[in-house]
Symmetry: C2
Subunit: 286 residues, 2 copies
C-alpha cells in the first residue's frame, strides 16, 4: 500500500492533488518540492503536504510514488534524472497535457523489471490561472483522469502494485479514469482541450485589439463573452510546451476550425447557416 508520496511541482495541480489526497482520506506522508520556495511554503500552508523537500531527487528516493506536476519539458528533464536514481520499488506518474513524448520517454527510461515504473497520467481539470493559492481539494471531482499506460510494460511486482494503488487513489480523489493509446490521447485532446484553449486565446487577443481600449464595452458582452474568453487568461508558460509537443494535431484542429468559420461566414444569409446551428445543437443535446 502507498504511504509515502512526493509531489514535485506545487502549482495549481500539485497543490490540489495534495489537498485532494488528504481530503480523500490518504493518511501517509506527502512531501512537496517547488523550484520557488515561496510557492512551496504557500502549498504547505494550504495543506497540500506535511513537509517541504530541499532536494527533489532525494525526496523522490525516499518516497514510493513521485507525482510530477510541472510543465511537459520539465517533466521530461525530471524523468531522465529520476530514472537514474530510482529502482523497481518506485512509481513515477505525471499530469502533463500531452502524452506521446512522455510515453516514449517512459518506454525508454522506465517500465522494465529492474527499473522504476512510470504511469503517464493527465487529469482533465484545471483553471485558467495557476499557482498554489488557487489549490482546490475538489479540483478533480467529476473530472476524467486519463492514463496512457503501456500494456507491454514489464514491471517489477512491487511497482505493478503501486500502479494499481495509484489508480485507486485517483478514483478516491473523485475522478473517473480512462485509458487511451498515447497517440490517440494527443489527437483527442487536440480537439476537446487544445482547440478550445487556442480559440479562446485568439478570440481574446482579437477582442483586446478591437475593444480593449474601452473597458466599459467588455461589460456589454455579459456572461457569453466572459465564458468564451475565460481561457484567454491561461499562461503561455504552460501552453508553450503543449504547442511544441502536439503541434501537428493542433495545426489540424485549428485549420479545420478556420474552414468551419469561413463556411459559416460565407453562408450568413443562406440555408447552410441552419445546418450549422443544427449540427452545433446536436453537440449540446442533453
Amino acid at each position: 500500500m502507498i504511504d509515502r508520496i512526493a509531489i514535485l511541482g506545487t502549482g495549481l495541480l500539485g497543490t490540489s492533488a495534495g489537498m485532494a489526497l488528504r481530503a480523500s482520506g490518504f493518511r501517509g506522508s506527502i512531501v512537496g518540492w517547488n523550484r520557488s520556495p515561496e510557492q512551496a511554503i504557500l502549498a504547505l500552508q494550504m495543506g497540500a503536504f506535511d513537509s517541504i523537500a530541499s532536494d527533489p531527487l532525494e525526496a523522490a528516493r525516499a518516497s514510493q510514488v513521485v507525482l510530477l506536476c510541472v510543465p511537459i519539458y520539465a517533466t521530461l528533464d525530471f524523468m531522465e534524472k529520476l530514472a537514474a536514481v530510482l529502482g523497481p520499488d518506485h512509481l513515477v506518474t505525471d499530469v502533463g497535457s500531452t502524452k506521446r513524448v512522455i510515453s516514449e520517454a517512459a518506454d525508454r527510461l522506465f517500465n522494465k523489471p529492474d527499473r522504476a515504473a512510470f504511469l503517464p497520467g493527465h487529469p482533465m481539470a484545471g483553471k485558467e490561472r495557476g499557482g498554489a493559492c488557487l489549490g482546490d481539494a475538489n479540483l478533480f471531482r467529476g473530472a476524467v483522469w486519463l492514463f496512457t499506460d503501456d500494456p507491454a510494460a514489464q514491471r517489477s511486482p512491487q511497482s505493478a502494485e503501486l500502479v494499481k494503488d495509484w489508480r485507486e487513489l485517483v478514483r478516491a480523489m473523485g475522478s473517473k479514469t480512462l485509458d487511451l493509446d498515447p497517440a490517440r490521447h494527443d489527437e483527442l485532446v487536440a480537439w476537446v482541450s487544445h482547440l478550445p484553449q487556442f480559440t479562446a486565446t485568439a478570440l481574446s487577443a482579437l477582442l483586446e485589439e478591437e475593444v480593449g481600449a474601452a473597458p466599459e464595452l467588455k461589460d456589454v458582452g455579459g456572461r457569453a463573452l466572459r465564458e468564451m474568453t475565460r481561457l484567454g487568461a491561461s499562461p503561455f508558460s504552460m501552453w508553450r510546451d503543449i504547442a511544441h509537443t502536439n503541434t501537428e494535431a493542433v495545426e489540424r484542429a485549428l485549420a479545420a476550425l478556420e474552414q468551419r468559420l469561413a463556411h459559416l461566414r460565407e453562408n450568413l444569409r443562406n440555408p447552410e447557416l441552419r445546418d450549422e446551428f443544427e449540427q452545433a445543437n446536436k453537440f449540446r443535446r442533453e
Copy 2:
C-alpha cells in the same frame, strides 16, 4: 407614470421582463401575448403578467408601453402594424439584438409629434436556450441594457415622459443603461456578442463531427469544453435574423478571427505564440 404594459412575445426575454418588473416593485397591469397560446399560459403561470391578450394590437392600444420580445423580423412586422393603431400617448420599445434596421424603421414610423414613440433597446442578457419555462426575474440584474435612441426624435410630451419612465423601470430591473449610435451598436455587438456566438456554433458543429459519435469523450473536455460550446445550443430561429440584419459586421469579425487563428497555427513553435498569449491575457486582466 407607467401603469399599463403589454409584452408581445413571451419567450425567455418577455417572460423574464414581466417577472423582473414585478420583482422590482412595478404595481401596474401587465398583459402578455404570444403566437403560441401554450407559451403564453406558461408565462402567466411563471408570474410574468396578470392576463393573456388574444389580440396583440388591441392589447397594445389599451397599454401605455408595448415591449416587443420577438425576433427581429417579427419586430419589424409589429412596428408597421403598431404605428397604424397607436398614438402620441404610447411608447413602443424592443429587445432585438441588432438595432440599425429597427432604428431606421422607428425613424420612419414613430417618433413624430402625432405618432407613438419608439425607443430601440437591447438588454445584453440571455441564455443558450429559450422559452417561457426558463424565465428568470434576475436575468437583467448586472447586465447592460443598451439603447439606440434618436436624439432628433420629435416626440409628444406624453410619450417623451414614457421614454424617461421606461428607462427608470429598466434600471429598477437591475440593468445599467448605455446609449449608443445604432451603427456603432451593431458594430460593437458583432465583436462582443455575435462573434462569440458564431465561434461557439462553428466549434460545436466541428466537434460534433469529430467526437460526437463517442459521447464519453465529451466528458474528457471538462469545464473548458462545456463553456466554449455552451452557446452551441443557441437556436437558429433567433440567430438567423441577427445574421441577416448585421451581415457585414459579422463577416468582418469572423474573417478577423480566421486570420488570427491562422496566425496562431503558423506560429505554434515560434516566439509569436507568446505575444498572442500575452495579448489575450491583457483582455482578461482583472
